[in-house]
Symmetry: C2
Subunit: 597 residues, 2 copies
């Protein structure tokens, strides 16, 4: 059975020694979380994930969710109890606004904890995770009264939230959606339509579920410009916050999926359900994108988390499984064979995962800090700069992290040989669970299009320019420092590839947008490699500083530098291939007629 | 529900116009199969795969196999009937030796058919497929009497065969195996032990199953030098070929797996089962490797086949699913959206699969022809040269094809968006089924080690030298031909990377074998990219020749060239990254202590 140990030490290293959270003490929420409290919160959170949530991961996969004939959905054994403990301990409100009963801690701290929860049990964590996105959308556009009515029970976890976008004929292209909202005399609406792929759409964990639903008004344009956003509670809520009648929304069926069996993926039927418009009519997509951007970062963390937990189990197995002898001579001479961790190709898979995990954790927390800074920085310039950075990197965190998460989970399974293919070992579940993250909240292809089509050109390319400067300055600093000189050349080579690919897009995609789309995935991976390289440069610097200051745990810092060296010797060398793909353009890719496929 | 159309036209193009099968008419088996017969056989075979086998693929996955308390194993509905039809039509004996009742067709023809069967239903096809390897091993080392007794019913499909290597504590490292064989007075042996992961170990398709089992004699060395190979029939066989008593071998349980549910993966218990030594005692591994090499090529075809069938379904979906608009302007202006095949990133996934599928099909058939030539060529030199080539490329076909097969199946699933994650669409099954091929018959890591540790240095590097010359000559030919000049530069760049990486290994791996192992997987992929590039050069030449000769189906040949251009513009550009990884060596990869993982 797989195990999990929350990487609290690594999170703390990043938060304290790479991101220097202490320097933001002037901002709301940061002062409350000195280094000691931070460590206590994450250690407690790690324990909760390890002890309460992780033991339900295999049973959740095996049992799945069950829909009863009356539409009720039963979650796997243990989920109800664990969720109650989650609420009781207040984990859902960690970064919630104190005005709504939250603890007001920085988003970056909640993100570190979120990784542990997902690694421990991805399907379980989707129930509370989606609630955060729903809260963000309600906060952004709903009226103060609506916020006061719906947000507090969601912050404290008594209610969960969902996003209802997809319909059978329409996923990415929301302009096609057919769900209708009829205005009523009392200012409410009646919603009718079918939504599919609704994660956590129905379950038995809470007394209420707040659905955020996209629908069209009768007289709205039949396109993306005619979509409005509604709150549709599963159980109607009286003005005093008490629960009223059951609303006309129900789970019609559960999807049988490849993975995340513990999460209920529902077909939701709205049969004249009462809903409340939030935000402006016909402007629903804006609010949905607020929700989606938060969700996309969360999905990126899913990639990291599945990579981390599968890596941990592969490493444990590789240390224990005796098979063959090291090419460099027996390492376990007393036994009949050496542990397979002596084999370079096993190391390759472990080191690839590890170099990704630590780099991605640093980038994810850096990104989460940007979310905090975009909201809380003192000046509009500082807020805009942080907004630029997280906007640029969101598709990378979602797309690159989930591609690599799946790849690393697959490699971790590979370390187990034939046992990796057998269900009871649990490794194949990580692969199946990780797979969805490349698909939902916008497929990774959509992320890549968002990156090259929207994020790059926005504001005249301001965000990328600032990011290239940031990485360029880091390279110069490395080049000038004997200890970190080894970083400069490979990171510069990667940055040159990124700049070259960017220049090519600027020259060739304006007149021919297919050129941008054709290279978009390669570009996303190229930027991902540079971004992780940048984080590795920062982490290596922090580790060298700690060693210079005679920090106690020298092994931790030395290992950190060793993994970083591997990143620069074995991982980042992919950038020329990605650049070549970008610069190869769309012609050969689009040469065949559609009928020729 | 997924569909499948056997790519008969493409197989015939390769066999007739690229490999020019007609030129081998002097060799046994080739004369019988002129172009017309070849087409008839493959068309009939394709139809069989499409109509009889493919419809059982989803139900096989959903139902799986069932073990009854008495040890009997029931295959999914329809498998028995389909297998009976397979036997009746004589498909199993296509390339079988006429001396044992086979049809004596070239192996290369049977391989083309095998791809169709696997694409139609991988789990089903494993039942007859493993039989071929068992026949090969028996032919190679068993006595004439044993051959006459066991081979004919296996050729005609009345009996199937298995390979029994793995034990719970020992997979790759066979020296650790514990199954014992006690000599009996009558010359037979009694085998006792437990074997795991035995594909097709028990089933209800045939009246008998011939297990080939590795075991140790009591006085043999307790290492790989003490392993012997035994025939252990499920039902004992009388000297006249009739069936006798049930042998003391039984299926103890079935494994619950990630995929290939329709194939019974058995724990096999040998409780003093009667077995017959084949070949020399203590030399069992040699015969097992004969079997394994045949099986490895078959597993490589599994990678190709899963890539092909998943590609076909993704292409169909992409042509039909309406979502969004082409960046270059609406392509379906009358509808509310364009089919998603207009989007470059969807094309990217389809073209990557297609460029692989066609290149890999050509390489697989080229390799299968080498198997024929190694056996049937007129001179020892010609046989040795063919043996060299297929020996060198076997790990590439197994390792590279199955890595890409999984990747392409994953991408095909991605083309379906959220629907790809839902079981009923069948796309996630291709991913789960394809996954095993990277693991069994020697993990891909083992293939890579076989390549750099055994195949490269064998005979002073003779095989690789000959292969590099072959590709080098092809590049020169392309460079001298205006029409194919576009191939020369990218293929030369890739060949240079291969030669550079080879040179680095020669200089750095002799004193430090970890350097070879550390770069082995990158080297395998590098050679795979070059080998597919070589096949693409041959195919493009053949297509250009056909067009010059005013062949009827110009679209087929023009598309062939267009896909080839994509291979050289977008695919082969990965080689520098692989070379860089090889040349980065083992140091950074092995830097951490085992406890640091």
């Amino acid at each position: 059975m797989p195990t999990y140990k929350a990487p609290v030490k690594d999170s703390l290293f990043i938060l304290n020694e790479v991101l220097h959270l202490g320097q933001y003490a002037a901002l709301p929420g940061f002062a409350e979380i000195g280094a000691d409290t931070l460590a206590a919160v994450l250690e407690e959170g790690g324990r909760f994930a390890e002890e309460v949530i992780q033991p339900l991961n295999r049973t959740g996969d095996e049992q799945g969710c069950k829909r009863h004939p009356d539409g009720r959905v039963q979650t796997p054994d243990g989920f109800r109890d664990a969720y109650a403990k989650f609420v009781e301990a207040g984990w859902g409100g960690l970064a919630g606004d104190p005005a709504f009963g939250g603890q007001g801690l920085p988003h970056v701290v909640a993100t570190a904890f979120e990784e542990y929860m997902i690694a421990a049990n991805m399907a379980f964590t989707m129930y509370p995770m989606l609630t955060q996105g729903a809260i963000a959308a309600i906060r952004a556009v709903a009226s103060p009264e609506q916020q006061q009515l719906f947000i507090p029970p969601m912050v404290d976890g008594r209610w969960t939230g969902t996003m209802n976008l997809t319909e059978p004929h329409c996923g990415t292209d929301l302009g096609l959606l057919r769900t209708r909202a009829e205005p009523q005399a009392d200012g409410s609406y009646r919603l009718t339509g079918t939504k599919i792929f609704i994660s956590s759409g129905e379950h038995d964990l809470t007394e209420n579920i707040i659905h955020l639903v996209l629908a069209k008004l009768p007289d709205s344009p039949d396109s993306v410009k005619g979509i409005s956003l509604f709150i549709v509670p599963k159980v109607l809520v009286n003005p005093d916050g008490s629960l009223g009648a059951r609303n006309a929304v129900a789970c019609g069926s559960l999807e049988e999926k490849m993975g995340i069996h513990g999460n209920a993926t529902c077909v939701m039927n709205y049969d004249g359900a009462t809903g409340y418009l939030i935000g402006e009519r016909d402007k629903g997509l804006r609010a949905m994108f607020i929700m989606m951007n938060a969700a996309r970062l969360g999905v990126g963390i899913q990639g990291l988390a599945q990579s981390e937990v599968s890596y941990q189990n592969a490493a444990n197995y590789a240390r224990e499984r005796l098979q063959g002898r090291a090419l460099s001579g027996p390492k376990n001479a007393a036994g009949k064979a050496d542990p397979i961790i002596v084999h370079p190709d096993v190391r390759r898979m472990l080191m690839n995962a590890r170099a990704f995990n630590e780099g991605a954790r640093s980038l994810a927390l850096w990104g989460a800090l940007m979310v905090d800074l975009a909201e809380k920085s003192a000046t509009p310039e500082a807020r805009a700069a942080a907004e630029d950075q997280i906007g640029l990197l969101t598709p990378v965190i979602k797309g690159y992290f989930t591609d690599k998460g799946y790849e690393n989970a697959t490699n971790a399974q590979q370390c187990f040989g034939g046992h990796g293919y057998i269900r009871e070992w649990g490794m194949e579940q990580f692969v199946r669970d990780a797979r969805i993250a490349m698909i939902y909240e916008g497929t990774n292809g959509i992320q890549a299009l968002d990156l090259v089509g929207r994020k790059l050109p926005a504001n005249g390319g301001r965000a990328l320019r600032a990011y290239l400067q940031l990485v360029g300055a880091c390279i110069e600093e490395c080049a000038a420092d004997e200890q970190r000189e080894f970083i400069a050349a490979p990171l510069k080579r990667a940055l040159d590839d990124l700049q070259g690919a960017t220049g090519w897009l600027m020259r060739h995609a304006l007149m021919k947008p297919d050129n941008a789309a054709a290279g978009s995935m390669a570009y996303l991976h190229l930027l991902g490699l540079v971004a992780l390289g940048h984080q590795w440069a920062l982490m290596i610097k922090a580790a060298q500083t700690a060693l210079a200051n005679k920090a106690a745990d020298t092994a931790f810092y030395e290992n950190k530098i060793a993994v970083g060296r591997y990143y620069f010797s074995h991982v980042i060398c992919e950038t020329p291939a990605h650049r070549a793909r970008v610069e190869a353009g769309a012609d050969a890719m689009m040469a065949l007629a559609a009928e020729a496929f």
